[in-house]
C-alpha cells in the first residue's frame, strides 16, 4: 500500500511521517509517533478522549485524516506542560482530585485549555457545554468542572 508523506508541526517540533490514506491523525500520533497520551475511546468523535488542537482549533483527532495534518500546527496533551512546569489546569486537576481512572483526562485538559484561551471567565454552564463532548464515566464531572472554574479564577488573578 502506497503511503503519503506529511510534514507538520507537533507540540512545536517539526515532524515528518508516512501514513496510509485512510489513517487518522490519532492513528499516527499513537502508533507511529509514540504520542499515546491521546486516547481512542470511540473512533467516532463522540467521547473526546483524542482531543487535540490543530492551528488552535479543538478537534477530535480520530475524525481527522493524518494526511490533513500537512502544514498544520498540532498540540497534544504531551505539549501542555512546559518541561517540568505543569499547566495550571494540570496542577489544579491534581490538587482537586479531578480525575479517577485518568483515561479521559488528557482530552478534558486539552479541551479545557482551549476554552480558557477563548474565554478566560466562563460560567459553569459554559464550561459544562464546552466539555459536553468529553465523556467521563468516573467522576460525574463535578470535580472536573470545579477545577476548570478554579483554574480560570487563578489565571485571571495572575494575568
Amino acid at each position: 500500500m502506497s503511503r503519503i508523506h506529511v510534514s507538520t508541526t507537533i507540540n512545536g517540533d517539526e515532524t515528518e511521517f508516512l501514513c496510509e490514506a485512510q489513517e487518522t491523525l490519532l492513528d499516527v500520533l499513537r502508533d507511529d509517533l509514540d504520542l499515546t497520551g491521546s486516547k481512542e475511546g470511540c473512533a467516532s468523535g463522540d467521547c473526546g478522549a483524542c482531543s487535540v488542537t490543530v492551528d488552535g482549533r479543538l478537534v477530535c483527532s480520530c475524525l481527522m485524516l493524518a494526511a490533513e495534518a500537512e502544514g498544520r500546527a498540532i498540540e497534544t496533551i504531551e505539549g501542555m506542560a512546559d518541561g517540568d512546569d505543569l499547566h495550571p489546569l494540570q496542577q489544579k486537576f491534581l490538587e482537586m482530585g479531578a480525575l479517577q481512572c485518568g483515561i479521559c483526562t488528557p482530552g478534558v485538559l486539552v479541551a479545557a485549555k482551549n476554552l480558557l484561551e477563548r474565554n478566560p471567565d466562563p460560567t459553569e454552564e459554559q464550561v459544562r457545554y464546552w466539555l459536553a463532548g468529553n465523556l467521563c464515566r468516573c467522576t460525574g464531572y463535578d470535580k472536573i468542572i470545579r477545577a476548570v472554574m478554579e483554574t480560570a479564577k487563578d489565571m485571571r488573578g495572575a494575568a
Partner: protein, 747 residues
C-alpha cells in the same frame, strides 16, 4: 479475622487530601493504558463477529484470509484444542470464540493477526462464514414464556422448580417469616411489575491487551483489567496452560466498573501470538465493547409490599428475573439478596431467577444486581408513603436496618450506618429547600455487601530507608494514594518516602480482582499488617544494636524508641538509620501480609434528588443531587467523594437515558456513544457528597468499601422525584422523554 480489630485513634495522614502519586503521569499523558504498550515485531489482532443473534456455524473458510500478504495467523474455535473441564471456564472459552453456535450479535467466530491494522481488517472481510440462522430471544420476559427458543439444553440447575422453561437456568430464594400472615396486618398493599434496561459500564477505555505466548507455553500479557491474576488464571485454564508460566502485568485502567472483571478476549490474543510466533496487540473497538463485553443484566421484578397506615412494613415479597445473556450468571441472586437489605422486616421472601437469552454475557456493573434489587423496593415504599401521606425519610427510618437486624439474606448486622445516612439527609438543607413548578424531590436508599478476598502485599524497606510497597490490584480510581497513605501512617514517615507499585502476577501471591469495593478495605488492611510486620523486624534490628529486648522497644514517628527508662537510654533510631545497618543486622528488611480477610463492613447510602419534568416533552432534568453514604473511614476524602459522585452519575444515566436497544432481528441497534448516550457534563448538576463515618469493626482504621453502593439508590430516587413532580409512577427504565410524556398523557 477478628471483628474487634478496629481501634479508635488520631491520624496524621489518613483523612487528608494529598496529590495522588500517579497523578502527574495521568495529567501529562505519560500513563500507559492497555492500548499504549507496543513490543518489537508486534502484530495487530482483530476479531470477526457474528451478525446474528443465534445461528449454527455451518462452516468457516479462512483460506483467502490466510493467503493474504501480511497475515500471520488466522484462528477459529478449531484451533482451541483444549476443552476446559470446569463449566465456568468452558463458558469463557465459548464466549471468547464461538463453537458450534453463535449465541448473540457480536459473538466472536474467528480472529486474525497481521502486520498492520488495515491488513487485519481486510483479512476479517476475507473470512467467509456460513450460518444457519436459528430462532432467538433477547427479552427477559419473552425468554421465560412457553415456546421460547431454549438457549442451552441441559444446563438448568436442580434448584429450579417444575414449571419453568429451560432458559431459567437457576433459582435462589431468601428471607424469613411468613409474608402471607404479614400482609393480613397491612392497611395498604401495593403490587407491581418493574423493569430495568440493560446498560453498559461505559468505561471510556476499550478492552485491550498485548500478548506473547511461546510454543513451550511460557507467556506474557500486558492487559487492561480489574484483575490481572484473574486474567492469568482464567486464560491458562481456557488454553490448558500452567498459570505459573504466564506473567500478567496490569496496565493503567481506563475505567471498569465491574465490566473488566471478566476475560473477554485475552485467550484469543495469546492463541494468535502462539500461532504467529510474535507478540499480538488486540484492542477492541467501541462497537465490539458494546456488542460483546458484558452489559449489566436487564431485569423484570414482581414486587408486593404491605404497610400499616402509620408506616410499618408488615410484609414484602419480590421475584426478580435477571437476564444473564448467553451464559449463566448470578445477578438475580444478588438482586434478591440486596433489594430489601436496608429494612428490618419480620416477614420477607425474595427469589431470583437467572434467565439466559441471546445477548452478550451479563457482567458486573458496580454492585451487580443491587440497583435492580432496590428499584422496585424503593419505588413501592415511596408510593406507599405517598398514598398513606407519610414522610419518606421518617418511614425509612422507622423500618431501617440497624445493629442486630436480621438481614433478608441471612446474617445479623453489626454496627451499620443506614440510620446515620437517613438522619443526615433529614438534617441537610437540601431536604427543606423550596421547589418550583414541575419540580419534585425523591429519596431512596441502597445497600452493598462489600468484600474481602485473597490479598497479598509486600512492603520493602530499602537501604536508604525509603519504602516500596507492592500490591496486586489495578488502581482504578486512586487506590495507590490510599495504600501509600496507610503505609505512611502506620510507619510514621512522610508520604513521599513511600512509593506504591502494582506488582505483576509473578511478584506477589494471589490477589482477587479490584471489585466488590474490596481494595481500600482488604488491600489497605494487608498494607497496614505488612507495615506492622516490617516494624517488628526493625524493632528487632534496633534491639540487636542496643543490646536490649525487642519487647522493650516502641515504634513512633518513624523511629525505634526505648519503651521506657527501664529499657535503657538510647536516642531514637530512625527508619533510615535502621535501614542503613540492615546488611549487618540480618539482611534485607521487608514486611508482608497474605490473607483472605472476612471483616468487610456492609455499606448503606441515602440519595436525595430534585428533578424537573418538561410538561411538553417529558424530558427530566436533574437539578440538585446529594449523596449521603457511610464510608467507615475516608482515607483520601477526594476519592471517596469521587466514588459517590461517579456512582450517582451512572445511576442517573441508567434511570433516564441508557438502554440496550435490540431490533426484531436480535441485533443491537445502538452500539456507540452517539446512540447509547451516557450523561455528559451539560446533563448534570454538581453532586454533593456527604461522607458519614461509622467505623467498620473489621478494619484497623474502620474502612468500609465505598465504590459500589452509590449506583444503587439513583434509579428509584429519580423515579420518586418524577412521581412527586408530575404525578406519574414510572416503573420501566429508562424514564426517557417519550415514556414520561406518554405516562403524563395517560393520566
Amino acid at each position: 479475622m477478628a471483628k474487634d480489630e478496629y481501634q479508635a485513634r488520631e491520624f496524621k495522614v489518613i483523612g487528608t487530601r494529598p496529590i495522588r502519586p500517579d497523578g502527574i503521569d495521568k495529567v501529562t499523558g505519560k500513563a500507559q493504558y492497555g492500548a499504549d504498550m507496543s513490543a518489537p515485531g508486534m502484530l495487530w489482532g482483530a476479531i470477526k463477529r457474528s451478525p446474528h443473534a443465534h445461528a449454527r456455524i455451518v462452516s468457516i473458510d479462512t483460506s483467502a484470509a490466510s493467503a493474504m500478504k501480511g497475515v500471520k495467523a488466522v484462528i477459529t474455535r478449531a484451533d482451541f484444542t483444549h476443552q476446559p473441564e470446569d463449566k465456568a471456564n468452558a463458558d469463557v472459552l465459548d464466549n471468547c470464540m464461538a463453537g458450534e453456535r453463535a449465541l448473540y450479535d457480536g459473538h466472536a467466530v474467528a480472529a486474525v493477526a497481521a502486520t498492520s491494522k488495515s491488513i487485519a481488517a481486510a483479512a476479517l472481510d476475507a473470512i467467509k462464514v456460513d450460518y444457519e440462522v436459528l430462532p432467538h430471544v433477547t427479552d427477559v420476559d419473552d425468554a421465560v414464556k412457553p415456546g421460547a427458543p431454549i438457549i442451552h439444553e441441559g444446563r438448568q440447575r436442580e434448584n429450579v422448580p417444575e414449571g419453568h422453561n429451560g432458559n431459567v437456568i437457576s433459582r435462589t430464594a431468601f428471607g424469613h417469616g411468613d409474608p402471607e400472615e404479614g400482609f393480613k396486618k397491612a392497611d395498604l398493599i401495593i403490587e407491581r411489575n418493574f423493569t430495568t434496561a440493560a446498560t453498559h459500564q461505559g468505561y471510556i477505555e476499550p478492552n485491550a491487551c498485548l500478548a506473547s505466548l511461546g510454543a513451550d507455553g511460557q507467556g506474557e500479557i500486558w492487559v487492561c483489567t480489574q484483575g490481572h491474576y484473574m486474567v492469568r488464571n482464567v486464560s491458562a485454564a481456557v488454553l490448558g496452560l500452567d498459570a505459573g508460566k504466564i506473567r500478567a502485568t496490569a496496565s493503567e485502567i481506563g475505567g471498569g466498573f465491574g465490566g473488566k472483571t471478566h476475560v473477554w478476549q485475552e485467550p484469543v490474543a495469546l492463541k494468535l501470538s502462539q500461532e504467529a510466533g510474535k507478540p499480538v496487540k488486540l484492542v477492541l473497538n467501541r462497537d465490539e465493547v458494546f456488542r460483546a463485553t458484558g452489559p449489566t443484566a436487564s431485569s423484570s421484578a414482581d414486587i408486593k409490599i404491605g404497610m400499616t397506615k402509620d408506616g410499618k412494613i408488615t410484609a414484602a415479597t419480590c421475584t426478580y428475573r435477571l437476564q444473564s445473556g448467553a451464559y449463566p450468571a448470578d445477578n438475580a441472586m444478588l438482586a434478591a439478596m440486596c433489594g430489601f437489605a436496608p429494612y428490618d422486616l419480620e416477614h420477607v421472601r425474595t427469589e431470583g431467577l437467572e434467565v439466559v437469552t441471546n445477548r452478550p454475557k451479563a457482567a458486573a456493573y458496580r454492585a451487580p444486581g443491587a440497583p435492580m434489587g432496590a428499584f422496585p423496593v424503593e419505588s413501592v415504599i415511596d408510593e406507599l408513603c405517598q398514598k398513606l401521606d407519610l414522610d419518606p425519610l421518617d418511614t425509612r427510618l422507622q423500618n431501617a436496618s440497624r445493629e442486630g437486624t436480621r438481614a433478608v439474606y441471612g446474617p445479623t448486622y453489626p454496627a451499620i450506618g443506614l440510620e446515620a445516612t437517613l438522619e443526615a439527609a433529614k438534617a441537610h438543607p437540601h431536604w427543606t429547600a423550596p421547589l418550583g413548578d414541575n419540580q419534585g424531590r425523591g429519596v431512596a436508599c441502597g445497600f452493598w455487601f462489600n468484600f474481602g478476598g485473597d490479598t497479598s502485599v509486600s512492603l520493602m524497606v530499602n537501604l536508604d530507608g525509603t519504602v516500596s510497597l507492592a500490591e496486586g490490584n489495578p488502581d482504578i480510581g486512586g487506590s495507590r494514594a490510599a495504600m501509600t497513605m496507610m503505609a505512611a501512617e502506620e510507619l510514621g514517615i512522610p508520604l513521599d518516602q513511600v512509593r506504591t507499585f502494582i506488582a505483576d502476577t509473578a511478584s506477589l501471591g494471589q490477589n482477587e480482582n479490584t471489585h466488590g469495593s474490596r481494595v481500600t478495605y482488604a488491600v489497605g488492611l494487608a498494607t497496614i499488617k505488612a507495615a506492622r510486620h516490617a516494624i517488628e523486624v526493625m524493632k528487632q534490628r534496633a534491639a540487636m544494636k542496643w543490646g536490649i529486648d525487642a519487647d522493650a522497644i516502641e515504634w513512633k514517628d518513624g523511629a525505634a524508641h526505648p519503651a521506657g527508662d527501664n529499657a535503657g537510654k538510647f536516642p531514637p533510631m530512625s527508619i533510615k538509620e535502621i535501614a542503613a545497618i540492615s546488611s549487618n543486622t540480618g539482611g534485607p528488611i521487608a514486611g508482608h501480609h497474605e490473607a483472605n480477610p472476612e471483616g468487610a463492613g456492609v455499606s448503606f447510602a441515602t440519595h436525595m434528588v430534585d428533578t424537573e419534568t418538561d410538561p411538553e416533552t417529558g424530558a427530566v432534568k436533574v437539578l440538585r443531587y446529594t449523596v449521603f453514604q457511610d464510608a467507615g473511614k475516608a482515607i483520601h476524602p477526594d476519592y471517596v467523594e469521587g466514588q459517590f459522585q461517579g456512582g450517582a452519575a451512572q445511576g442517573i444515566g441508567w434511570a433516564l437515558n441508557e438502554e440496550y436497544v435490540y431490533g426484531e432481528d436480535g441485533r443491537l441497534q445502538n452500539p456507540g456513544f452517539l446512540d447509547y448516550r451516557i450523561p455528559v457534563a451539560s446533563d448534570l448538576p454538581m453532586i454533593e457528597p456527604v461522607i458519614l463515618e461509622i467505623p467498620n469493626p473489621g478494619h484497623p482504621y474502620g474502612v468500609r468499601g465505598v465504590g459500589e453502593t452509590s449506583i444503587v439508590p439513583p434509579l428509584a430516587a429519580i423515579a420518586n422525584a418524577v412521581s412527586r413532580s408530575s404525578d406519574v409512577r414510572l416503573t420501566a427504565l429508562p424514564m426517557s422523554p417519550p415514556k414520561v410524556l406518554a405516562a403524563m398523557k395517560a393520566k
